[in-house]
């Protein structure tokens, strides 16, 4: 199993003032660039440390979001391309349905791949519902735009004879021609995240790495099974290295220390419901039956525990998060056992996307968390 360290580079100093809404409508006068500069550099230091610890690096992006101060995932990735030597560099991901210049995406990725001498992993995501506003991206056509962008980016990376024409539904170029081309041939590995089993089969058909994010014991097996079905139908193998899973991880010298760290990282998840309700369901992003039900009987954001029962996301405890499989926490032995159990439950996991920093977890705690994990847990995971 490979391990990747992920942080959203949260601007937590603003959370209290922003109150019930941490996304979209937040005025950036609350953001202090001097505090932000310290935070950026500290988070980058933590990723750079991963290069020494044998942990890979994962970045993402959100827009107008106080829980994630990365509006351009390729910026930290480019810095890491230069600052690190060994870690693989995963963008999970690039919201390609919201990025109106797909050829530019191919250019940025190719450049990072070359600078890093072929360490880029390209994650394509549809993006959270909150993202359609900042991008002014039509929510009713996200799916088709996602796949058109995917096709165009890969064609741009694999066309080596000069300009080609692309006049599709959403993207228009008559002179698509990237320079440089990627270091890895034919192109860097592709990852795709899914929110449920429906689109997992498509990812399996293409043989990409699928990533499930905090989907826990309850939902992850159905997602991975759908992937395997799609892969089998396309006569592809689905080895463990095709499956990634994101969870929050807190490890400590003692059980208590690990759980305390996880408790702080869990603020990442607890803050998720802090957004205007109406922005959670843009028109057409979910099927009309689902949105119709939600309009009539509004639900509370929740996590699903192992037995299928629900717990409110805004107040998730460490025990609930461990039970649900959205956090692995404790001392190195218990954390290893929890990950191993999850790995077996989902039928094999090749990539643990470890949220090793989140919320208010300090730099010192993050360094200790990553370092202890790399020494005591990572070697055992390599055997799985």
């Amino acid at each position: 199993m490979e391990v990747w360290h992920f942080s959203e580079m949260a601007y937590h100093p603003g959370w209290e003032e922003l109150g019930h809404s941490l996304r979209n409508v937040i005025p950036n006068r609350v953001y202090d660039p001097k505090v932000g500069a310290d935070l950026y550099n500290r988070y980058l230091d933590e990723w750079a440390l991963c290069d020494e610890l044998g942990i890979n690096i994962m970045v993402n992006e959100h827009h107008a979001t106080a829980t994630c101060s990365t509006p351009a995932c390729t910026v930290p990735l480019a810095i890491m391309a230069r600052e690190t030597k060994k870690s693989r560099l995963l963008c999970l991901g690039m919201p390609i349905a919201n990025r109106m210049d797909a050829v530019r995406v191919a250019e940025e990725f190719a450049m990072i791949d070359v600078i890093s001498r072929g360490r880029l992993e390209m994650g394509f995501v549809k993006g959270s519902p909150y993202e359609v506003g900042p991008a002014n991206s039509n929510p009713s056509t996200v799916g088709e735009r996602f796949w058109e962008a995917h096709d165009l980016i890969l064609k741009a990376m694999t066309t080596h004879d000069g300009p080609f024409n692309w006049e599709g539904e959403h993207f228009h170029y008559r002179q698509a021609n990237i320079w440089p081309r990627p270091y890895q041939q034919p192109h860097p590995p592709v990852w795709i995240t899914v929110a449920g089993p429906y689109s997992a089969g498509d990812v399996g058909e293409k043989g990409y790495v699928i990533a499930a994010l905090n989907s826990g014991y309850w939902s992850t097996p159905t997602i991975f099974d759908a992937y395997r079905k799609g892969a089998t139908e396309a006569r592809r193998k689905s080895a463990n290295d095709r499956f990634g899973y994101l969870a929050m991880v807190g490890v400590g010298e003692t059980e208590e220390e690990g759980r305390r760290r996880a408790d702080q990282i869990l603020d990442y998840s607890r803050m998720t419901p802090r957004a205007l309700k109406q922005l959670q369901m843009p028109p057409g992003l979910a099927p009309p039956e689902v949105i119709g039900r939600e309009l009539q009987n509004s639900s509370t954001r929740s996590i699903t525990l192992r037995d299928g029962s629900k717990a409110p996301m805004a107040t998730t405890t460490v025990d609930e998060a461990i039970d649900a499989g959205i956090a692995f926490a404790g001392n190195p032995d218990t954390v290893y056992e929890q990950i191993k159990e999850f790995h077996e439950h989902v039928g094999g996991l090749g990539h643990l996307l470890m949220m090793g920093q989140g919320g208010h977890l300090s730099h010192e705690d993050t360094v200790a968390n990553l370092t202890l994990f790399s020494k005591e847990v990572l070697p055992r995971l390599k055997e799985l």
């Binding site: 979209n24 409508v25 506003g133 002014n136 039509n138 929510p139 009713s140 056509t141 088709e144 539904e169 205007l276 309700k277 109406q278 922005l279 843009p282 028109p283 057409g284 009309p288 039956e289 689902v290 949105i291 119709g292 039900r293 309009l295 009539q296």
Partner: protein, 260 residues
């Protein structure tokens, strides 16, 4: 609903009433609540009511996705019906389609009635002509759209809730960006050559009456009726007044004399 195959689209449409022909292009929301309005129109006109493709819940061909597609579909419908002297009535999103039709071809039209239409960009680039309803809470959205009493989702069946969500999906599908307008529509409004009536609710918080006044100035010889104590859908909130305004306005001239 009847169905006809037109321009490669299975189009749902109703025909009801007696009298001269009237084509009603429905608004983006609450189709099922517009039956009383359609019934009242049917007392004076033969009313043709198509259900916009997409809003009807059927799969669309992949190339059918722009306001122009709806515009040409309904121009084809008029040709298909083969009637002249048509009164064209459009509400909000339907008003946008009606405007697009009228700037292209008024030859089969007798008169045009637009109930709080969207479609033309009249303000400057930092000005919102149309409220960004998708960022509003349900309560704020209802307050923007209705002056009196908004529909209560608790009264809706599951199918009506699905239809409500689908309506929102397809107004986004056709009108997300540019937001509910065509870039050049305002430029060509002078081409409208039939008597035109604009009807607005004085408390419309989605498209303000001030927008209506700007639109009035761009359509030759148009008339604006602002109804008191109505929001964006006066045909739902002030049924009698809205029908009376249409009957006695430029669209109702066929029976001038009997109205007075």
């Amino acid at each position: 609903m009847k169905q006809i195959n037109l321009s490669g689209i299975e189009l749902d449409f109703d025909k009801t009433g007696n009298g001269p022909p009237l084509l009603y292009l429905h608004s983006e929301h609450y189709f099922h609540l517009q039956a009383p309005f359609i019934e009242r129109l049917a007392e004076e006109w033969t009313v043709y009511v198509p259900r916009h493709p997409g809003f009807d819940g059927r799969q669309l061909p992949s190339e059918f996705r722009r306001i122009e597609d709806l515009t040409y579909l309904y121009l084809d419908l008029i040709d298909h019906i083969g009637l002249d002297e048509i009164t064209l009535v459009g509400s909000s999103f339907g008003g946008w389609i009606a405007l697009e039709m009228a700037v292209r071809n008024c030859s089969r039209l007798k008169a045009l009635c637009l109930v709080s239409p969207v479609g033309a960009k009249l303000g400057d680039r930092v000005e919102r002509d149309f409220a960004d309803l998708w960022t509003y809470s349900e309560e704020d959205s209802a307050a923007a759209l209705f002056a009196q009493k908004a529909p209560n989702f608790a009264d809706f069946s599951a199918d009506e809730m699905t239809a409500t969500a689908r309506d929102r999906q397809f107004v986004a599908y056709y009108g997300w960006k540019p937001y509910l307008h065509s870039l050049s529509l305002a430029r060509w409004l002078h081409r409208i050559s039939v008597p035109t009536q604009l009807i607005w609710g004085d408390k419309d918080g989605f498209v303000s009456p001030d927008y209506g006044k700007k639109l009035l100035a761009l359509i030759p010889g148009a008339k604006l009726d602002i109804l008191s104590n109505a929001g964006h859908y006066p045909q739902l909130e002030l049924l009698d007044e809205t029908v009376a305004a249409i009957s006695t306005g430029p669209c109702g001239s066929h029976q001038a004399g009997s109205v007075a």
